[in-house]
Symmetry: C2
Subunit: 143 residues, 2 copies
DNA sequence: AATGCACATGAGAATGATTTGCAAAAAGAA
DNA sequence: TTCTTTTTGCAAATCATTCTCATGTGCATT
């Protein structure tokens, strides 16, 4: 199972960076490692609580901040909803948000990546990071 | 002055859609018409208050919602800061955010627009709106 | 295995942006 | 002007997120 491996990789990476691995962080980290979706802080609390009931919402938030600072997770700020989180093992990708269901779909386009860099360069900038969110609705008439 | 024209166009568009033009809305609308930057709700309150001191923050927010619903302004949700607003007279464009100064630069790329639509279509979606923000830093070595 | 201390935690209060309830004020149709 | 429907100001309410602080705990070092 890839999740267990991912968990170990993440924990090890954190340890190397001097981040203490607490009971609560283990719970949250393992939830993130197993998540196939994009949970928000509350959802993470629910799932982590099942593993370690002592986890509090404050700690979920604090841990997410630490994980983000250490490059282990990425915070996704979509419009009008609480931030969602995903692990950063997967290579970079952008998101399509289904405006009807709230579902989040990942995609990646080299062409778009390249174009972005070109445009920024033309204007004298170099991209540090970017964010491309497509708010879309499922097409009725299948292609 | 383009602003006065823009103001009239917006007010007329709103009237046609049955939106009441109140004193407060006039103040807010004219501030938006003149703005060369991307003010947030608080800044709009300050500027609108100079025209009509009776404007309250609640009304600024309520008005912005109305204007957005009627396609007259666009809400820009950047990361970690209050929403900024701009009039939608300008054709659609995306933003480069200078992560050092906070400056916002507008740009538009047909190619990117097209690619986005293609990607969404391939996944069975049609884009309702999108958001592309490039967080970048000015290049030291000029091109 | 015990110790020490810097760091992490839980509970709840604090924050900041935005929204909302309500009674009073005003827009626009008649 | 008058009536009806919206809009407004104010303050209180929300909601996600952060912070305070007293207590608990990793983990490097004995």
């Amino acid at each position: 199972m890839a999740e267990a491996i991912q968990y170990k990789v993440m924990e090890e990476a954190l340890r190397e960076r001097g981040v203490r691995i607490t009971r609560q962080r283990q719970a949250i980290l393992s939830v993130l490692a197993e998540a196939q979706d994009h949970p928000d802080a509350n959802e993470l609390l629910v799932r982590a609580s099942a593993i370690d009931p002592s986890v509090s919402l404050s700690t979920v938030y604090r841990t997410l901040t630490v994980l983000e600072e250490n490059g282990v997770v990425q915070r996704l700020n979509f419009e009008g909803v609480p931030a969602k989180f995903e692990t950063t093992n997967a290579p970079h990708h952008d998101h399509i948000i289904d405006i009807e269901t709230g579902d989040v779909i990942e995609f990646r386009s080299e062409k778009i990546e390249r174009l972005q860099a070109e445009i920024a360069a033309e204007l004298g900038y170099e991209i540090v990071h970017h964010r491309l969110d497509l708010y879309a609705r499922r097409r009725k008439h299948a292609n």
